[in-house]
Symmetry: C2
Subunit: 183 residues, 2 copies
């Protein structure tokens, strides 16, 4: 059985919210903190502003060669120096989901170099993708990034590059939440 | 928002159970009927023996060419002549889910001809795939098939062909439930 994660925005939590910026579509309400926990164990708190859930799942596009390259360079979440995080929930359009697998793969990598762009910033920017669409959530994915303060500029380059791709034209809702680990 | 389906085994329902056969791994308990309904609306009934949930999602392997071929021949569930159904929940092994997308695609279609085999039996055997893995369910998928009694032999050929493929070697749990529409 897999473990679903809950991202709970409220007035307490491990991560202090620096900003909540709507990038495209409907925003999310501001809350001062976000806690990431297991969806199974987390009762709804009195201060809960919103909650999103996501599930780590199998990769949908990466080839074996890309997977090898990623795994040789990537580092896990939770590194002590990674005091900054970004939580970016996105929803893609119906026209994206109506594409066949080969068409999505071509846009994702051959055209937009989604994996190649992320790879450039490894191991500095750690990254975890959570799938939400099949859970009936308001977003299709949540990507969670963690990095040390000295890589903040590199992170801006990374998100700017991703938003400039053909793939990103299929994004119909995106919110960009920046976080700092509580001291 | 997508709609999750619930498959509820109990002592009432639209479909009368003819047989529940464990094909691989742990069986499911026998119940006389199965009802297929929306997971959101269905309260747990007193007679419920088990319940599985699944979500119709985007296709994970089909190319545009395959999708065109499927859509030009397939018919929907619910045809009045399709009085027989089969519900086949399966779970694949961790080694399947650890494969990269290109490796899974190669086994699914280039080696095992999963889509090509199904296509041979269209439009007689209608088919709907439900995804369960990311929902934390005990199975990864439920495939629901519907056909008229005169195509029962064709259906046996179809499932025999699929179970003989390389892809099926990754199946670690499978239950085969045969059903007849209540008169």
């Amino acid at each position: 059985m897999l473990n679903r994660s809950a991202f709970i925005a409220g007035n307490s939590g491990k991560w202090r919210v620096l900003s909540v910026s709507p990038v495209r579509g409907q925003p999310l309400d501001f809350a001062s903190h976000i806690e990431v926990t297991s969806a199974e164990n987390s009762a709804r708190g009195a201060s809960e502003v919103w909650r999103l859930e996501g599930q780590i799942s199998n990769l949908r596009y990466a080839t074996r060669g890309e997977l090898k390259a990623l795994r040789s360079k990537q580092e896990p979440l939770g590194r002590p120096q990674a005091r900054y995080a970004a939580m970016i929930p996105i929803r893609k359009s119906a026209s994206w989901w109506d594409l066949a697998q080969d068409e999505r793969r071509t846009i994702f990598e051959e055209t937009s170099q989604h994996t190649a762009i992320g790879l450039k910033y490894l191991p500095d920017i750690a990254r975890q993708l959570y799938h939400c669409r099949d859970l009936g959530q308001p977003f299709d994915f949540i990507t969670w990034f963690e990095y040390a303060p000295e890589h903040a500029q590199a992170f801006e380059e990374l998100v700017t590059s991703l938003r400039a791709t053909h793939e990103w034209q299929f994004v119909e809702r995106e919110v960009d939440i920046r976080l700092e680990l509580q001291p």
